[in-house]
């Protein structure tokens, strides 16, 4: 699904991602962990193609196609989607209007999904204007469910969300990633940034990666990595000699 090879990314004059290699196969969910400011969100933004970043070396291959220089919407049309940790507020643009534009021939799903995520009363509200933390995340997940991407990037889906909403969002994301489909037939892939790991209760992630200072320090079982981080913090990762 996604293959990143020797990726180097600069913001201005400073290199912020160094030699990133990552391979996410069809049906796999990977988890990205790391301290604040380590470059996790920057990696997601580079994969999606956002401006303000300069890919100086390496390639991003998506579904066998080099998308490194492709504009954002082309990547979205190929099947990439992203849940934003802090999406912008767009005053004047109603959530319902955006969903009508993005749903295309899946318009019928909007009602079902918006009810499922308790967002059906938000259709006439400007996107994220005055939304609570949970409402922002539910709006994000709803947009992705309507968009139906094959590869979903989730930037801290549980941050700012209460326990009840985490359950709802977790269940919705599990549907988005076809966790209800047998692994052999599962097509959807994901890359999830999490600090707490709460979301993993719903996702059964396959691989975990730890990023420190813009480079991967560790790859392995996501729950095991999380357990180490929870008990010893990231200093264990930084000191780890296995890298």
């Amino acid at each position: 699904m996604l293959k990143i090879e020797d990726l180097h990314v600069k913001i201005g004059e400073r290199e912020v991602l160094h030699d990133i290699n990552l391979h996410i196969k069809e049906g796999e969910t990977h988890v990205l962990m790391g301290p604040n400011g380590s470059g996790k969100t920057t990696l997601l933004r580079a994969i999606m193609g956002f401006g303000g970043l300069d890919v100086t070396e390496g390639q991003i291959i998506f579904k066998g196609r080099d998308v490194t220089r492709l504009p954002i919407q082309e990547r979205a049309k190929l099947g990439m989607g992203m849940l934003f940790q802090r999406p912008p507020t767009i005053a004047g643009l109603k959530l319902g209007k955006l969903l009508a534009v993005t749903s295309g021939d899946r318009a019928g799903m909007v009602t079902e999904y918006s009810r499922f995520l308790h967002m059906d009363t938000f259709m006439d509200r400007a996107i994220n204007l005055g939304f609570s933390g949970g409402e922002i995340k539910r709006s994000e997940v709803l947009q992705l469910m309507v968009q139906q991407p094959d590869f979903v990037m989730l930037d801290e889906p549980e941050s700012g969300v209460d326990l009840e909403n985490i359950s709802l969002i977790g269940t919705a994301i599990a549907r988005l990633l076809e966790k209800d489909v047998h692994i052999v037939n599962r097509k959807k892939s994901g890359l999830v940034i999490t600090h707490t790991g709460y979301i993993l209760d719903y996702l059964d992630a396959d691989y975990g990666h730890v990023m420190c200072d813009g480079a991967f320090r560790c790859h392995g079982n996501p729950r095991e990595i999380l357990r180490v981080i929870k008990t010893s913090g990231y200093k264990e990762c930084l000191a780890c000699q296995k890298v």
């Binding site: 401006g51 954002i72 919407q73 989607g81 209007k97 955006l98």
Partner: protein, 371 residues
């Protein structure tokens, strides 16, 4: 003056389209009345609902002596060179609309001022909503497709009686060498509501206006909303003034301005003259191509217990908003126009659906031409 134009239907298809863009129903469907003036000739007057009277100003002044007390009382003849010009005309033109006590019209009354050949079109209008009456006006002002130069000077005096309501929506569709100088004022009595909406998304050489609402009655309300797109070569000096003269009066002045190369001066002034009054000015501007948006909001409080505020912001479309929509699969152009459309989408409380639809249609038409 063009020959053979007796009714709006007689206009060329192109000019009919120009009128439709200003919200007019050429066939007068879903309208409570109609007034059509071409240059200085009044062509059509119709009142289609009970309780509404539409007259030319000459007829009205001859018919009702009391109207003298309403003529040139809110707008002073000597206000400026334009009002003096209109006042000096021996043969005044324009219309008088009277919504009788307690009358409520569902459909708006349309007035059309069409500039075809005359160098200067001038009108003097008086609009009265008597006690408890509700009147919705849509004023479409346009020039003919073949008219390149000219001026339009319009004096309008609005009287909103006790418990009455007037909404007036003016949509302009001029040419790039036409100058426009509306001079309007309103007086709002107790519990009266005056909603004034202005939409201009097409080129104009110069437009300059600053309507004044005097909220003279207790708990009276005024709301001015302007939605404008200013193209290169256009100069729009747009303001509105609200005087909170009675207890409980409130006013709101809302502007959404986009420049694609032209100059917009957006003025707003609210004066809190009495206790227990409230006013707010909101001006948001987007500069899409190098041009000028100069927001000048003014608030002046004269007494304790008047609450006045203003907010103004001028800038460009935020890149993160465009990229956010692109990540949902929208092309950059579509993402940009979706955001601009949203920016202009000011829902005006209390506006009948048909008038809101006309405003939406004007925005749609500007969107199609790429703003």
């Amino acid at each position: 003056m063009p020959e053979g134009i007796e009714r709006m239907e007689d206009l060329s298809p192109r000019d009919k389209e120009r009128l439709t863009q200003t919200g007019l129903e050429v066939g007068m469907k879903n309208r409570s009345g109609s007034f059509f003036q071409v240059d200085q000739e009044i062509r059509q007057i119709a009142a289609l609902e009970e309780g509404i009277e539409v007259l030319s100003i000459q007829e009205a002044l001859a018919k009702y002596r009391w109207l003298e007390d309403y003529s040139w009382k809110l707008v002073k003849k000597e206000k400026d060179q334009y009002t003096r010009f209109v006042a000096d005309q021996p043969d005044p033109r324009g219309f008088v609309v009277i919504a009788k006590k307690g009358s409520r019209t569902v459909f708006p009354l349309q007035t059309c001022l069409f500039l075809a050949k005359t160098p200067v079109q001038h009108v003097h209008n008086i609009i009265i909503a008597e006690e408890g009456a509700e009147l919705h006006l849509i004023s479409g002002c346009a020039s003919a497709s073949y008219t390149k130069t000219g001026s339009h000077i319009g004096v309008s005096e609005f009287y909103v009686g006790r418990n009455a309501r007037i909404t007036t929506t003016m949509i302009h569709n001029w040419g790039d060498e036409i100058s426009v100088f509306p001079r309007s004022a309103a007086r709002v009595e107790e519990n009266g509501v005056f909603l004034s909406n202005y939409v201009c998304m097409q080129p104009v050489r110069k437009i300059q206006m600053s309507p004044v609402a005097d909220l003279a009655g207790k708990n009276s309300v005024a709301r001015f909303s302007s939605i404008v797109v200013c193209t290169s070569g256009s100069h729009m000096d747009l303001g509105s003034v609200a005087q909170l003269s009675a207890e409980g009066a409130s006013a709101e002045l809302v502007t959404r301005a986009i420049t694609t190369g032209g100059t917009i001066i957006s003025r707003g002034m609210i004066e809190g003259k009495t206790r227990h009054t409230k006013g707010h000015i909101e001006c948001k501007g987007l500069i899409l191509k190098d041009g000028i948006i100069h927001a000048i909001p003014e608030i002046k409080g004269d007494v304790v217990d008047t609450e006045l505020s203003h907010e103004a912001a001028v800038g460009k479309i935020a890149k993160d908003e465009i990229e956010y929509l692109m990540s949902r699969g929208l092309d950059e152009e579509v993402a940009t126009s979706t955001i601009i459309r949203g920016f202009l989408d000011v829902k005006i409380a209390g506006l009948p659906e048909s008038l809101q639809n006309q405003i939406d249609a004007a925005i749609d038409s500007a969107e199609k031409s790429g703003f």
